[in-house]
Amino acid sequence: MNISCFSTSKYMGKKVQGKFKIIKLFSTYGKFGIIVILFMLFIGIVSILFMGNSYKIPSGRSLEAPSLVHLLGTDDLGIDLLAQICHGAVVSILVGFCSAALAGIGGSIFGILSGYYGGWMDKLVMGICDTLMVIPQLPLMIILGALFGPSIKNIVLVIALLSWSRPARIVRSKVLSMRHERYITASQSYGAGFLHLVVKHFLPGVFPIMMVSVIGTISHAIRAEASLSFLGLGDPTSKSWGVILNRSINFKGIYFTDYWKWWVMAPLSMLILLVLSISFVSRDMEKVANKKL
């Protein structure tokens, strides 16, 4: 009993070390990306804990330039931009994470189904994947966004609906190669059912490869949310970075005054920074995963 406990904890320790090792394998840019993502998470948490409702309640004159009171200035309603940006981080990360998680879960379900059963199921799922890949994503997203109505939940659903095909393909090919492994055949001969195989064998095997593609999906989702909000199809109550951008661009005279220096540039640079760092991280993850496999 004691011994087994000891060995488990040792095993756990090794695993944790392994996780940190992955970050050590990253390039400088990947590390930079992780730091930026942690920073975004930090300002998001700060916004939730300490800033309260200051992202939607005016606290100064309208269109103030950056000063000590309002570090990033205010928008046309006199709402502090720093508070809005911090709140926007929550929205963007949440949207990215939720839709990527949904796409990953849906993708792996369909991928496992089509890889395991083959036949018409495989043909059907892969056919849908092919179609999704050929259909122009952004126009379809615009139409679906308009169809479901502007709310965060719907944006997440739309993005997930259109981006599960990549994880599904990857999972399917992995399952196809796993299906004829000896240990699968062995457990099948012991009478293991589909569910048992999925939970005990397929999911653990598929998980790392799926995570890599899911992280790619996060950056895609954040981008898609920003584009939809920029076109005015975002949730007007959510104050994501895309919504702030849309508001500022549609302000009359934004091109002829200096307001853009803080009103446009702040959300713009935050979006660019976040998308870039996530893609750096996902690139490095892919590299590490490819080396290990």
Partner: protein
């Protein structure tokens, strides 16, 4: 293979037909209540009449059947909001979009390929690493954010380019040249944006492709013959690494169109993307359907072409 494309075509047409019908909102609300204007209200009778006129009162499957029959005749219907023929509206807007998309496609593929080839030739050196990071950064930034950045820096601040539109309104031109200059001047920023956004793709592709070609024996032979660097690079190596790049040119058109939709909205460029966001705003079913169908058809065609061209260029692919 061919069956596959027809199936996708059918699915696209079906999506195209059913989605707008499920959209919330009603074109009558938008026709009758205009912003700031006098609210013209329709009586129930009139609404029925209009619905009958547009065929919206029939059961769905008959509408769908009629829709396909009309499509086969090349008729995309009349816009509910603008009251003109949809195919005509798309035809007017399409050249603008095609112009910037094709220009940026060629610019980004040519520059990306050349820079990628050079980068592969000087691999592992400082210049290669610098180019690599630069390209990755530009390819990862969403194109409309890049466009906004360029718009505010070059058009609003430095005033070297016009802020919006595709051509100066109400201008008269002395010569053909000044006319074209005006168009190019307006299109410059959108084209630069799309080019920068697409550059990284070709760069990576060309760099990878070149790296594999450069390690082949015939390159060593060429070196041993004492040929000049440029000749080896562009004549021997680049030629053999072109097939994947050309295939990518066709395949990337879809992404480019998606980017163009957003970039056109950034620069208020009078292309199909701008028309699309206008159509969504006014809930113009017919117009949305038409645009989506045309764009999807073009993409499907390009994918099909990419398959064919790739097979022709590289007979090893079955």
């Amino acid at each position: 293979m061919k069956k596959h494309y027809f199936l996708i075509l059918f699915i696209i047409i079906a999506i195209n037909f059913f989605l707008p019908r499920a959209m919330p909102g009603d074109p009558f609300l938008y026709i009758s209540v205009e912003e700031g204007g006098v609210a013209t209200t329709f009586s129930q009778n009139q609404i029925e009449q209009y619905k009958a006129y547009y065929g919206l009162d029939k059961p769905l499957y008959i509408q769908f059947f009629n829709y396909i029959r009309k499509l086969l005749r090349g008729d995309l219907g009349y816009s509910i909001y603008y009251d003109t023929s949809v195919s005509k509206m798309i035809l007017i807007r399409m050249p603008w979009t095609i112009f910037i998309v094709v220009c940026s496609l060629f610019l980004s593929s040519i520059f990306g390929t050349i820079i990628g080839a050079i980068s592969a030739y000087v691999r592992e050196k400082c210049a290669d690493k610098l180019m690599y990071i630069f390209m990755i950064v530009f390819s990862e930034i969403p194109s409309f954010l890049l466009g906004l950045l360029l718009l505010f820096v070059f058009a609003a601040k430095l005033k070297c380019f016009p802020l919006s539109g595709g051509i100066t309104a109400f201008a008269s031109y002395d010569t053909v040249w000044s006319y074209w200059y005006d168009i190019l001047h307006h299109a410059a920023l959108p084209i630069i944006t799309l080019t920068l956004a697409g550059l990284g793709n070709y760069y990576l592709l060309s760099r990878n492709s070149m790296l594999s070609v450069l390690s082949k024996d015939y390159i060593n032979t060429a070196r041993a013959k004492g040929l000049k660097k440029g000749r080896i690079l562009f004549k021997h190596a680049l030629r053999n690494s072109l097939p994947p790049i050309i295939a990518r040119m066709f395949m990337s058109l879809g992404n480019l169109f998606g980017g163009a939709v957003l970039v056109e909205n950034v620069f208020a460029y009078p292309g199909v993307g701008k028309l699309m966001s206008e159509a969504v705003r006014t809930r113009d079913y017919v117009l949305i359907q038409g645009i989506f169908l045309v764009v999807a058809l073009m993409m499907l065609l390009m994918n099909c072409l990419a398959d064919i061209v790739y097979k022709k260029l590289d007979p090893r692919i079955i």
